[in-house]
């Protein structure tokens, strides 16, 4: 599909830039949004950025380390979604609100 070394290298760098952009957008969302669910979605956006980065690197080297690591990221994301959403539902039942500001009592 992409045999030429120069094209592959360009693909890698494009993927790295795209991964950086996705990671930055997810970071912004995590910091700026107050809805707990949207904050969680933003972490998933960051994970997608990391995934794109791994794919870009993987396409250059003959091994499959990048793809294997991306699969493990997928597993961790699934577990994170299960446990995190369980926690969010629990918190919502306590306060009747998804606002992260509702849980700032520990900040004093």
């Amino acid at each position: 599909m992409m045999a030429d070394a120069a094209i592959l290298a360009a693909f890698k760098w494009h993927c790295m830039v795209l991964g950086a952009v996705l990671f930055g957008l997810g970071l912004i969302g995590f910091v700026a949004r107050r809805n707990l669910i949207v904050m969680f979605l933003s972490t998933e956006v960051m994970l997608q950025g990391v995934l794109v980065n791994l794919l870009g690197f993987n396409s250059v080297y003959p091994t499959l380390n990048g793809q294997s690591f991306a699969l493990f990221i997928l597993v961790v994301a699934a577990v994170e979604a299960a446990v995190g959403l369980g926690l969010i539902v629990f918190l919502y039942r306590l306060r009747r609100s998804l606002d992260s500001e509702a849980w700032r009592s520990m900040s004093g």
Partner: protein, 246 residues
Amino acid sequence: MTSFLGYLLFYLVPVIGGIAVYLAMPGRRRVSRIAPVLLGTAAIGAMIGVVTKHLGHSQVVFYVLAILSVIGAARVVTHRKPVYSAVYFILLVLSVAGIAILAGAEYLAAALVIIYAGAILVTYVFVIMLAQQSMPPEYDTQAREPLFSVLAGFVLIAALASQMVTTHGALAEAQAAAGTAKPAAAAGAAVKSWSNTLTLGTELMTTYTVAFEAAGVLLLVGIIGGIALATRRLTASSDQTSGGAA
């Protein structure tokens, strides 16, 4: 001088993008709905122009997918309604799956669509609907410190991207000077007759056996944790703590 102008343009792109995301954040007095869209389009277009200029190569499919994924990510972060955020996240996942196919990772693309768009997003949508309220609540319409978060995020993007592009330029020049481009084999080229799925499965079962088992244990722990959290009853003591703190 031209390179200076080029770098100025390069750093202008994250600035425009940052302004677009800032204007699109909920809670600001919206000047218009079109302004962030136009600015965002300009930023994405300029980013592609700059990157193509610096990297030299253009590949239409990748760019379409990259644009779609960036739009999806920006809308996940800025949309006022969490359900729409989830839907735009599906757009992001689908375009990343397309990029995975371009990178020769067919199995990963399928897993992305099935696990992310299929399973994880359904869970998200269910939780969003459980917590649905008739009026859009204040915490969805009002962002927390949008200016500083956008500043931090886009400074990070600019720093990372500029580093990548300059490193790539230096590498390309070095290779051109040496006259030998580094031979880079495509993924799975060493075992050309094997499909990507077969190679990946063999890799998982030989090199990453321990990590594979650990991932299974992690999934089990996640299931147990999810069930324990979901079946937990609200006791009188937890009601008291919530009443006392609120």
